[in-house]
């Protein structure tokens, strides 16, 4: 059906013991959330990460990103322009008075 379904099929059907980087990064992201992969996936990933420095780096950076994105959103502040706030106030007031 869609393009992503094609990839879905790719990951479902071709994961063996010998992973390529595309599969390894897919699995390690999945592992961040589900914690436990299948036995085969778990060992294939471990093996791949034992020699692939780019995937190892990807794993480390992915963890840093998760942490930084979480923190940023919690603490960041955006501000509406005063002009927009004034408009909102008018809108609310007219609504309150109308009722």
């Amino acid at each position: 059906m869609s393009g992503d379904d094609k990839h879905t099929h790719y990951f479902a059907s071709t994961i063996g013991w010998n992973l390529c980087c595309k599969q390894a990064t897919y699995l390690l992201l999945k592992k961040e959330e589900v914690k436990e992969l299948s036995f085969k996936e778990e060992w294939a990933l471990k093996f791949h990460l034992s020699f692939c420095k780019f995937c190892k780096l990807f794993r480390k950076q992915s963890a840093i990103l998760n942490q930084m994105i979480g923190k940023t959103v919690l603490t960041s502040k955006a501000q509406l322009l005063q002009r927009d706030k004034d408009k909102l106030k008018l809108l609310i007031n007219s609504n309150l008075n109308g009722n």
């Binding site: 869609s2 990839h7 390529c20 950076q61 990103l65 979480g70 960041s76 955006a78 609310i92 009722n99």
Partner: protein, 201 residues
């Protein structure tokens, strides 16, 4: 849209909503949809829905929690609309969606699926991983806005709202395996964008 209807104690003071919550709601919205105009409209819609539903407010939750729950509902509705209107957006054809072969070798060439070279992860500058809030946030939002909309929804529900994959799939009506492919591709693209614009050593 169902508006939560709680019971007693907390009171609503609509005259103070703008001063007390407008910035908070705007921040909440913009970090999830990364579009200023849409975020501004959502804040307005939230206040309007809240006014309409204020007789149903029974004071069980506090005012702020109640307003956020209304906004959250609206954001999910928008996510859904984006996913439905652009069924395309979950597909290849999205013009600014970065293809897998941007990162990995062709499936039918030599060493298929391994990092292609040009866009491999590079070491990051240590000091950039210590937060400097304002600036990082600006770049994060810019990178998010380059993702296809449907991916942004999935990405922010997961990383900002900390929602489980099951509830995201249910809310947006996508399959679990499709969800993982979206997370994979969105993460590849976000990592690259943030590396180029922020983390570069």
């Amino acid at each position: 849209m169902a508006i939560p209807a709680p019971t007693s104690t907390h009171k609503l003071e609509p005259e103070k909503w703008v001063d007390n919550y407008a910035d908070y709601l705007f921040t909440y919205a913009i970090s999830r949809i990364s579009d200023e105009d849409e975020a501004r409209d959502l804040v307005q819609d939230t206040f309007l829905s809240a006014l309409k539903g204020k007789d149903n407010f029974k004071g069980e939750a506090n005012e702020k929690t109640w307003l956020v729950s209304i906004l959250k509902r609206k954001i999910i509705d928008l996510y859904r609309k984006n996913a439905v209107r652009k069924e395309q957006s979950f597909e290849e054809s999205d013009s600014y969606k970065v293809a897998y072969d941007h990162y990995f070798r062709d499936d039918d060439g030599s060493r298929p699926g391994h990092w292609a070279g040009k866009n491999n992860p590079q070491p990051w500058s240590e000091q950039k991983t210590n937060l400097e809030q304002g600036e990082f946030r600006r770049i994060l939002v810019a990178c998010l806005s380059k993702l296809p909309k449907a991916w942004t929804s999935v990405f922010s529900m997961k990383f900002m709202d900390d929602e489980s994959s099951e509830s995201i799939c249910k809310e947006l009506g996508i399959s679990t395996s499709n969800y993982w492919v979206i997370i994979h591709r969105a993460k590849l693209q976000m990592r690259e964008c943030l590396e180029k614009n922020w983390f570069k050593a």
